[in-house]
């Protein structure tokens, strides 16, 4: 009984960790710009596919591949911001979101062109037998995924709360005019937020590929789940995104395990809707805080 429950839990943690990372990526962009970047899912895919490209196709050493993948993802984020976000003066938020959707289509088209339709995989970061806890197994790569997610959360916490740049980024979304008045280069903060969210997304992709494989069109599903995670926790709250991600992952797994696997996605969504109806701004964001934001 315990074994079975633990197995379901571990499965939920595995997928939940990726949703959490995607959700955090959404928050980073949202916190600096109030924009929801729906190409966030594509960054995850870029992470997985580029990691394959560097480590398996070019046969570069592991750490070199990781660094190159991160640089590539950052570049894509930068390009996206410079080409499609920066040029627009006073854009309507809804328009921006639609543009990010259009960009995600372009990115998907490019990925499909270069990588084709096949799934890709590369070896787990550490080879070895899965760890067994009370009879339930947890693959080593899953531990990596959860560990990396945890590391990102802590690193970002320090970044946003303790560093000047991080605080400056947060200031931009609350009131860009005020931010400029105190000397923050808002446009640079926006650019940085896109680069950072791209990197976070790519890290998630790099970590999950050995378990789940990666193909060119995995982006939209991850983006939707990550977005739901961010909303559940309260947009802008990284703590919330993490909790939201794990809640969704575990709900899916428990539903599949104890109720009916065909309904797992539906139950997670129903719980999300219920949470929203009682806490309209998500778990960690109060309605008052929401009024402060532009959108």
């Amino acid at each position: 009984m315990l074994t079975v429950f633990l197995q379901f839990l571990f499965s939920g943690l595995t997928v939940g960790a990726v949703y959490a990372l995607v959700g955090i990526g959404f928050n980073i962009t949202y916190n600096a710009t109030s924009i929801i970047n729906l190409a966030q899912g594509e960054f995850v895919v870029i992470g997985g596919l580029m990691m394959w490209f560097f480590s398996e196709s070019l046969k570069l050493p592991f750490f070199v591949s990781v660094v190159l993948t991160i640089i590539t993802a950052g570049l894509v984020g930068l390009l996206m911001e410079r080409l499609t976000i920066k040029p627009l003066k006073n854009p309507d938020l809804l328009l921006m979101i639609m543009i990010t959707i259009a960009v995600s289509i372009v990115l998907r088209g490019v990925l499909m062109f270069y990588f084709g339709k096949d799934p890709y995989v590369y070896p787990a970061f550490t080879e070895g037998e899965p760890v067994s806890i009370y009879g339930a197994i947890i693959q080593q790569q899953t531990l990596w995924v959860i560990g990396i997610t945890g590391f990102c959360i802590i690193a970002l916490f320090f970044f946003f709360k303790k560093t000047i740049i991080g605080k400056a980024m947060l200031a931009c979304a609350v009131n860009p005019t005020a931010a400029q008045l105190v000397g923050i280069n808002v446009s640079r903060m926006v650019m940085l937020s896109f680069i950072l969210s791209a990197i976070v997304g790519a890290i998630g992709g790099m970590a999950i590929t050995p378990i789940a494989l990666m193909e060119y069109d995995k982006g939209p599903m991850l983006a939707v789940k990550g977005f739901c995670a961010a909303i559940m926790g309260g947009l802008g709250s990284n703590r919330g995104a993490v909790l939201g991600g794990f809640i969704i992952g575990i709900l899916e797994s428990m539903t599949a395990g104890y109720i009916h696997s065909g309904l797992k996605d539906a139950v997670a969504l129903i719980i999300l809707l219920l949470i929203l109806f009682f806490k309209p701004a998500g778990l960690f964001v109060s309605k008052a805080m929401l009024q402060l934001r532009k959108y």
Partner: protein
């Protein structure tokens, strides 16, 4: 109604009448049919978003409800076709009401996700419990009324675009009525409306229901035209597509919904020649047009016409 709207109606009716004569190819007409079906959904969403200021990423859910309810009733319960379609719209209205009451308290992104969740839940339910499950089901009866059945592509073209004209007529009149003005007021400032004693919540719910009914109508037309449906046609992807149509056409003008629907439906057909690259080119065209035609095609067109006539450009 305003003079601009009257001209637009005449133009639309003229184009509808003339297209089958100029290009009777069933292929072109089929593209036109799908454009018309999409236009119905887009009109509803445009009113909801552009006038009432609410966002919905779940229109595919109502579209799917329309298709499935109408099909199941006409195939399995032997209902007459028009009755099935009306029943489908009623069911969608009911679902919209149930969703709207809690959901419309949400704002912005949160509302978007709530509607997204709704659309996805409907898709999952159809996949699990819909007749045929993911494989869908067919042999859905074609449109018939009072013993007369439509079989030809031209017939469906006229039927669907005829309905578009009717729906537009109703919508345009609604938007110029007291309700329409109230809607626009709501869009600009809910607080002010509440202060003036307007029942904002009730108004938003009614518009939400209206958009659901339009989508359900479109869904049932789709089902009876293609005569085969499966859940994969009623997914988040479609909801986003409809959203794209509204934005491209111009969210501030309900005629934009028709233009947007036609553009988004026709564009992939024109891009067939690019084969593998068609997705990429499609994305590029969308990105560029969103960036450069930010207000949407119809508002920009109207601005140009007004400039040509020497009027001062009226900002919406």
């Amino acid at each position: 109604m305003k003079k601009g709207d009257a001209s637009a109606f005449l133009l639309l009716i003229f184009l509808i009448a003339v297209l089958p004569i100029f290009s009777g190819s069933p292929y072109t007409l089929t593209v036109g049919i799908f454009s018309g079906i999409n236009a119905l959904v887009a009109i509803g969403l445009c009113i909801l978003m552009g006038y009432a200021g609410q966002v919905s990423l779940g229109q595919a859910g109502f579209y799917g409800i329309g298709a499935y309810v109408s099909s199941v009733l006409s195939v399995h319960a032997g209902f007459p076709l028009v009755a099935s379609m009306i029943a489908a719209m009623v069911v969608a209205a009911f679902a919209a009401a149930v969703l709207a009451v809690p959901a419309l308290r949400l704002k912005g992104h949160y509302l978007a996700v709530a509607t997204l969740g709704f659309g996805e839940i409907i898709n999952i339910v159809l996949n699990e419990w819909g007749p045929g499950g993911p494989s869908g089901f067919g042999d859905i009866p074609p449109f018939n009324l009072l013993g007369y059945t439509i079989h030809s592509t031209t017939g469906y073209f006229y039927l669907i675009w005829g309905l578009v004209v009717v729906v537009m007529f109703f919508s345009v009149n609604l938007l110029h009525s007291r309700t329409g003005r109230a809607l626009r007021a709501v869009h600009d400032s809910e607080i002010a409306c509440n202060a003036m004693g307007l029942d904002v919540a009730a108004l938003k719910i009614k518009v939400f229901i209206l958009s659901a009914v339009y989508a359900a109508l479109a869904g049932s037309l789709y089902a009876h035209y293609v005569t085969f449906i499966s859940p994969s046609s009623f997914s988040l992807f479609y909801s986003i597509l409809v959203l794209m149509m509204v934005i491209v056409g111009g969210i501030t003008n309900v005629w934009g919904a028709i233009i947007g629907a036609v553009v988004i439906t026709v564009l992939p057909e024109l891009l067939r020649r690019f084969e593998e690259l068609d997705v990429l080119v499609y994305g590029l065209i969308l990105t560029v047009s969103l960036m450069f035609f930010r207000k949407g095609l119809v508002p920009i067109l109207i601005e140009k016409i007004q400039k040509l006539r020497g009027f001062a450009v009226v900002k919406h």
